[in-house]
């Protein structure tokens, strides 16, 4: 009750242990614990909102010696989004997994994944980030391998080897930092770091490792196969949370700790990679035959947008403009999290009902499942960035930031990205208008469609209309914006 940060990490861990020890009641425990953890994450956000960034030094050792858990506005909002997506997907998974032994294998790993995400978002120590990244990678791979077909296995093996490589390269960067500064805590490091060669080399290594983990353009080839072949709730968590969380570390490093070291050229490079990801990802999504493959490629594209924000934020002067651009980045990340998980969950319903998710012959299913098609439409709107969604405001600010910082070249990229996104979304929706009989009941897979609907509504209505509060929450509770 007093320090929610510890509970947010320990509750899913304990839940995972209990589900392993008591498999028969696994799903009840999973549901109960994810709801309680969600409540605690809300308490944490409330504390950050009132008291500014929170710190919890584990074991009463000061940050230099021991490890500190830290939560500022960025990590708290991402945490709440992660827990909301996680809880909704847990309700969905409860109905999705029918046969007993899969249920039994799913729950402990699933809760371990949540532990890893929460631990990573709150960690304030470089080596601790490495351990949480490993825990995240391993649990994600184990969950991807849950669907026992060859494609899933091959995808998860490649995902594991790439993930391990990414973590090791990240660890090499941490080793260099420890060589030079002898510090592992992020906040102390932020005070000590100067723009010298060691810091640049270490940052390149760490960013290379994280770029591999968050599937930025040149290193994205493992993502579509892994996310498309994993079971629906798992691929929802993968796309909405796992990839975004390793991007969160890049943000934490580039904008908070190493912002003295960043050169405009390096920011531009990561922006260009992001732009390439946007174009290439959307183009591949347009040509994907299966719905889940389309969603996976669109994840690669949407993450590209988040990377485009980095040169913009570093290019803008300190103060209000930079804070607005940064908050727009967070809003886009949150909206994408909700929209993408809703899309994957509805793809899961379609696959369950029709036995396949090939887009070409989707017509019958999309008419028989009107609510699922509506959810796909809503998440499509949020992915394109059309008005009712939070990403519309984020894209508006993205364009405004690129005009303010006179980096014009991002505007055509965002334009083509949005048009391609519209193309592949409406390609899917077009099938709902084929000839034939009218739909039966609106809601026929209730226990699976309701969680997906709530997530989609979060992306469009809640973040679209209610996001006014987010702007001042982030600008005055972030550790680093404008000094």
């Amino acid at each position: 009750m007093n320090n929610p940060m510890v509970w947010v990490i320990m509750l899913p861990l304990l839940a995972s242990l209990i589900t392993l020890a008591w498999p028969r009641r696994a799903h009840w425990i999973g549901l109960l614990f994810s709801v309680i953890t969600l409540a605690f994450s809300m308490v944490l956000v409330y504390q950050v909102f009132n008291g500014g960034p929170q710190t919890h030094e584990l074991g009463n050792w000061n940050a230099g010696l021991g490890i500190a858990l830290r939560a500022d506005a960025l990590s708290a909002s991402l945490l709440v989004m992660a827990m909301l997506v996680f809880t909704a997907t847990t309700f969905y998974a409860d109905a999705y997994f029918s046969d007993v032994n899969k249920r039994m294998r799913f729950w402990p790993l699933w809760l371990m994944l949540s532990t890893a995400i929460n631990a990573l978002l709150l960690s304030g120590d470089l080596f601790n980030l490495y351990v949480t990244l490993e825990l995240l990678g391993l649990s994600a791979v184990a969950l991807t391998a849950l669907s026992d077909n060859r494609a899933a296995l091959q995808a998860s093996i490649r995902y594991l080897s790439i993930g391990l490589l990414g973590s090791l390269v990240f660890l090499a960067g941490v080793a260099l930092i420890y060589t030079g500064y002898g510090i592992l805590d992020l906040e102390l490091l932020a005070q000590r770091i100067q723009a010298e060669p060691l810091a640049q080399v270490a940052l390149t290594l760490m960013s290379a490792g994280l770029i591999i983990k968050s599937a930025l353009f040149p290193m994205h080839f493992w993502l579509p196969a892994a996310h498309a072949s994993a079971p629906a709730p798992v691929s929802a968590a993968l796309s909405a949370l796992v990839v975004k969380v390793s991007l969160y570390i890049i943000l934490r490093l580039w904008i908070d700790v190493f912002d003295v070291v960043i050169t405009p050229a390096s920011a531009l490079l990561i922006g260009i990679l992001g732009a390439a990801a946007v174009i290439w990802g959307s183009w591949q999504a347009l040509r994907a035959e299966r719905l889940k493959l389309l969603a996976a490629y669109s994840t690669v594209a949407q993450l590209g947008y988040l990377f485009i924000f980095i040169p913009l934020i570093t290019g803008l002067p300190e103060g209000q403009l930079r804070e607005t651009a940064f908050t727009a980045l967070v809003l886009l990340a949150l909206t994408h999290g909700f929209a993408k998980s809703a899309l994957f969950l509805s793809a899961g319903v379609v696959q369950h009902r029709a036995g396949h998710d090939r887009i070409a012959d989707l017509a019958g299913t999309s008419r028989a499942l009107p609510l699922t098609t509506f959810i796909i439409a809503l998440s499509g709107v949020a992915l394109i960035g059309l008005p009712p969604s939070g990403s519309f405001i984020a894209k508006w600010q993205l364009l405004a930031a690129s005009i303010h910082s006179a980096q014009w070249w991002w505007i055509p990229v965002v334009a083509t990205g949005s048009i391609l996104a519209a193309a592949y979304t409406f390609r899917v929706l077009g099938h709902a208008f084929g000839p034939g009989d009218s739909a039966g009941k609106v809601l026929n897979w209730g226990r699976e469609e309701i969680p997906a609907l709530t997530l989609a509504l979060f992306a469009t209505v809640v973040l679209g209309l209610g996001s006014a509060g987010l702007w001042d929450f982030i600008s005055n509770n972030s550790q680093f914006i404008g000094g």
């Binding site: 391998a145 060859r150 296995l153």
Partner: protein
């Protein structure tokens, strides 16, 4: 005369790059797995070379703890990779 720290650190970097090169080149899982572990060993060697503080003083315990954690994480990752490989072999045989 260069210090032992730098000597062993450079050796660690050498092992790291050998491992990295092999991870990127090999396609079969097992060779890639071995390469990954070698790459990990390289990073651990850098850590411990940094921790070494000459004959007389006790070495810096923090990297030792980190590398111990690293070794255990590496072996668990290997166990998982081998289980995945075993499963893929079964599926291929069917």
């Amino acid at each position: 005369m260069i210090s032992e720290q730098l000597l062993f650190a450079l050796c660690g970097i050498g092992i790291f790059s050998i491992g990295l090169r092999a991870t990127l080149i090999h396609q079969q899982l097992l060779s890639r797995l071995l390469a990954l572990n070698v790459c990990g060993a390289g990073v651990f060697l850098i850590f411990i070379a940094i921790a070494y503080r000459g004959e007389t003083q006790i070495a810096d315990p923090v990297p030792h703890a980190l590398v111990l954690t690293g070794i255990v994480v590496a072996v668990s990752a290997m166990a998982m990779a081998l289980a995945l490989r075993h499963k893929l072999k079964d599926l291929n045989d069917e």
